[in-house]
C-alpha cells in the first residue's frame, strides 16, 4: 500500500494494514519533523510532492521489496503540506515471517525514498526559509554523468 496524504498519519492504522496472521514481526520507520536543521531552529515544515510520479515511484519501491525479501506486506505513506515538529512526515511498515527481512526491506524503502522520490521539504526558520536537500539525493546527482534512465 502506498499513499500520499495531507492528513496526519496514524501509525496504528498503517500497522493494521501490514500485520497479518502469518507474519511474526513488523519493522516500522517513522520520519518525524525535527526542531533543528543546520544549527537553526525550525519553526515549521512544508512538504510538497510531484504526486503522480512520487506515487508511481513508491509503488516501484514496494514491488522491489517483495522481489528482494520474503515479506508479507508493506506500506509506504508520506504526508504533504504543513507537518508540525514531532509529527510524522513518512511512515514505512514492513511485515515478514522473519525480522531480518522486515528490517532490511524497511531500511531499503526509506533509503530509496529519500534518494529518488520527488518530494520536497521547505524548512521555515525564525529568520528565513530554505529548501532542504537530502544528502542521499546529492550523491545521486553526482552520478548523473553515468545516466540513470528508468
Amino acid at each position: 500500500m502506498v499513499r500520499i496524504q495531507e492528513a496526519k498519519i496514524h501509525v496504528e492504522e498503517i500497522l493494521g494494514s501490514v500485520v497479518v496472521p502469518e507474519a511474526g514481526g513488523v519493522d516500522v520507520f517513522i520520519g518525524t519533523t525535527r526542531n533543528h536543521a543546520n544549527g537553526k531552529n525550525v519553526v515549521a515544515l512544508h512538504y510538497e510532492a510531484y504526486v503522480p510520479m512520487a506515487l508511481e515511484m513508491m509503488r516501484g519501491i514496494e514491488k522491489e521489496l517483495y522481489r528482494r525479501w520474503k515479506i508479507r506486506a508493506a506500506a509506504i505513506v508520506h504526508r504533504v503540506g504543513e507537518v508540525p515538529v514531532t509529527e510524522a512526515s513518512v511512515v514505512i511498515a514492513v511485515s515478514a515471517d522473519h525480522r531480518a527481512d522486515a528490517f532490511a526491506a524497511c531500511r531499503y524503502a526509506i533509503d530509496t525514498l529519500k534518494k529518488d522520490v520527488p518530494i520536497w521539504k521547505k524548512e521555515i526558520f525564525e529568520d528565513g526559509e530554505a529548501w532542504a536537500e537530502n544528502i542521499e539525493a546529492r550523491f545521486k546527482i553526482q552520478d548523473r554523468s553515468i545516466g540513470y534512465e528508468s
Binding site: 510538497e48 510531484y50 510520479m53 508520506h78 529519500k114 520527488p118 529548501w131 536537500e133 534512465e149
Partner: protein, 81 residues
Amino acid sequence: MKIFVKFFASAREAVGSDNVQVAVKEGATANDVLELFGSQFETMNRLRPYVRVAVNQSYVVNDHVLHEGDEVAIIPPVSGG
C-alpha cells in the same frame, strides 16, 4: 512541437511558475529545456547542475529526446522522508 514543463520546489520559485507550455523544435532534448529556462532565469541557471529531469514521470538522462506532448518535470534535489 509542444511540451508541458512542470517546476517543483526551488525550481518553481526560480521561474515563478509551476506549469509552463512551450514550443521546442523536433529532436529537442531534456537538456535543451534546462538551457531554455536557465537562459531566462538566473536562479534557474544556478540550479541547473543540481536538477534532474523526468519525462512523463520517469527520470531521464539529460540527452533524452523529447516528443510532442511530453510532460517534462524539473526536479531539484529531493528532500522527502
